[in-house]
């Protein structure tokens, strides 16, 4: 099984999120970067599949030169080959992103492309679907359980307390969510291998899209300091009163 996993470099946001003065980017002066969480699980899933059934895992990212850090992170988890679709730092929209990935997929005999259900930062919820349409492949999204069989996969997710199972013939695109597995920590030999690995590069054209970002802002917070009802068990009577006022007690 030849698998391509698409990952994205995103800022590691901790206790606070701030925007640059021009309102165009997140202020990352004090933050590191990591692989978007759903996609880290996509890498783990692909590595597990090839460990079981053979084949290889390529990992791809569309981003600046610095995103090689995340490609090496994925190589350290067990991916075999890395591809950087290098940008000049401008944000690619979902249509241009899907087109750039499709070009890589057409040039190699992949059976399966895995992505995260949505990137942690832009939250567009559509690159995987647009990629599938570009390729004419079937797609399932938001997947929390994947099993590989002869010539196809069964992808499962939950919807309003009901389990949905999708059978997809290969080749196919599947977008996954955190929870599909628990990603491993990179091993020391894995890290050393990743450090030395070559990275294939190309530079897709940026293109504008019908949806144009004007500015980012932090929502006006409804932030207020909580009213403290008390300490320890002494606060329980007050707590019960508050629950009564909220109307959550029958």
């Amino acid at each position: 099984m030849e698998i391509l996993v698409c990952i994205k470099r995103v800022p590691t946001v901790g206790g606070k999120i701030a925007v640059t003065p021009d309102g165009q980017e997140i202020d990352t002066r004090a933050s590191g970067f990591s692989i978007s969480p759903h996609e880290e699980c996509a890498v783990e899933e692909a590595v597990q599949i090839t460990e079981r059934d053979g084949g290889s895992v390529s990992v791809l990212t569309l981003g600046p030169e610095a995103a090689i850090e995340q490609l090496r992170g994925a190589l350290a988890l067990g991916a075999h080959r890395a591809v950087l679709l290098e940008t000049d730092g401008r944000e690619f929209g979902p249509i241009a992103t899907a087109a750039a990935i499709a070009a890589e997929v057409r040039a190699h005999p992949y059976d399966l492309v895995l992505l995260g259900n949505e990137a942690a930062d832009t939250g567009d919820y559509q690159v995987g679907v647009r990629l599938a349409h570009e390729l004419g492949w079937p797609v399932a999204t938001g997947i929390k359980n994947l099993s590989v069989g002869d010539g196809g996969v069964v992808a499962r997710r939950e919807y309003r307390g009901v389990e949905e199972a999708y059978s997809l013939p290969l080749p196919a695109v599947v977008t996954v969510k955190e929870g599909i597995n628990l990603p491993r920590y990179p091993s020391l030999p894995g890290r050393l291998r990743a450090k030395r690995a070559a990275v294939d590069r190309s530079a897709p054209e940026w293109a504008g899209e019908g949806l144009r970002k004007e500015a980012l802002r932090v929502p006006e917070s409804s932030k207020h300091q909580a009213e403290v009802l008390g300490s320890g068990v002494d606060a329980v009577p007050g707590l019960v009163r508050v629950l009564e006022e909220m109307g959550v007690l029958s």
């Binding site: 946001v13 942690a120 797609v139 949806l211 019960v240 959550v248 029958s250």
Partner: protein, 322 residues
């Protein structure tokens, strides 16, 4: 001119998330408010839709698409959008809503904006909009130029409000033109695990975080949730540690909740967690640390050890029932 909203059903009624989308659709100022429902004609909740100002309900009978098939649903929406001359097509920002609208974007070659909180027509083919990034921790002001505006509505930031006066509703049956490839991917549904209220729609959620200390610590949270008619939700650290299954995670990479009450116990309040619970009407925090970030998002707080406070609260609520 019409605006079409995809309606997901929750049993016999429209899902609340869809009613929220419909509330936003009504503000777009068109003369016809249309909805698209994939169900038998008899199962279309016309009364409730009319109370939300819906003038036209388009029914795609399930026989033609065989249950939930995202690409087929999108194909049907594309056909209807052309037929009705729709200026916008929207859905709730749910798994299905985002998925179907992504397919619709790919089919039509048009942009799609996920999880909008505000959309305003700005003349011609232009809409100005505000949408979530980082699961709502950031807002993006954006401009969409497209003959049909495609977007989904953030389910935790727009309230569902019925129209001042109900509309006279007409029901139309639409037969979609589908290609064979549209039906390749279809959901086969089966009941999932244990029943009970779902996290996304629960009225009360009792949340547990690192402070719970381990898998055995959740027994008292379960008791409390049961007494309050709610469910247990957890923070990301709890699922990464394997204390509870991932489906109980509240947060950016888990479930977004919109309960009346979120009772956050032993949860410090990382912003990714706040992204999941900010839609709660009330938040109460129980935490040993008066400086925990969750207190800046809570209405009330109890400073103390949840292992003492929760059993005492459970006892007090039981005494109240007796």
């Amino acid at each position: 001119m019409t605006v079409l909203t995809l309606i997901e059903l929750d049993g016999a009624e429209p899902a609340d998330a869809s009613l929220r989308a419909l509330t936003l659709a009504r503000t777009l100022g068109d003369t016809s408010v249309g909805t698209v429902v994939f169900a038998d004609v008899a199962a279309v909740p016309t009364g409730l839709l009319a109370s939300y100002g819906v003038t036209d309900a388009y029914v795609i009978e399930p026989g033609s698409v065989d249950g939930y098939a995202p690409q087929a649903w999108a194909r049907a929406l594309a056909g209807l959008a052309t037929e009705t001359g729709a200026t916008a097509v929207l859905a709730a920002g749910t798994d299905r809503g985002n998925e179907v609208l992504a397919h619709l974007g790919a089919i039509t070659g048009l942009p799609m904006a996920a999880n909008c909180t505000l959309v305003t027509p700005d003349g011609g083919k232009t809409h100005r909009l505000v949408r979530h990034r980082w699961a709502g921790l950031l807002l993006e002001d954006a401009v969409m130029e497209a003959p049909i505006a495609l977007f989904t509505v953030a389910t935790d930031s727009v309230a569902s409000v019925s129209a001042e006066t109900p509309a006279a509703i007409q029901v139309h049956v639409h037969k979609p033109e589908l290609a064979k490839a549209d039906l390749v991917v279809r959901a086969v549904e089966s009941p999932a695990g244990a029943g009970g209220a779902s996290l996304a729609t629960a009225r009360v959620v009792v949340g547990g975080g690192r402070g719970v200390g381990g898998p055995e610590g959740f027994a008292s949270l379960e008791q409390l949730a049961e007494l309050l008619g709610g469910v247990v939700g957890v923070s990301r650290v709890v699922t990464s540690e394997g204390w509870r299954p991932h489906k109980q995670q509240v947060g950016q990479t888990g479930t977004k909740i919109t309960p009346e009450l979120y009772l956050a116990c032993g949860i410090s309040g990382a912003i990714q967690h706040i992204a999941g619970c900010a839609g709660a009407k009330h938040i109460i925090a129980i935490n040993t640390d008066p400086g925990a970030p969750i207190l800046a998002h809570a209405d009330y707080a109890v400073i103390g050890d949840l292992h003492q406070v929760i059993p005492a609260l459970v006892e007090a609520l039981r005494a109240r029932l007796r």
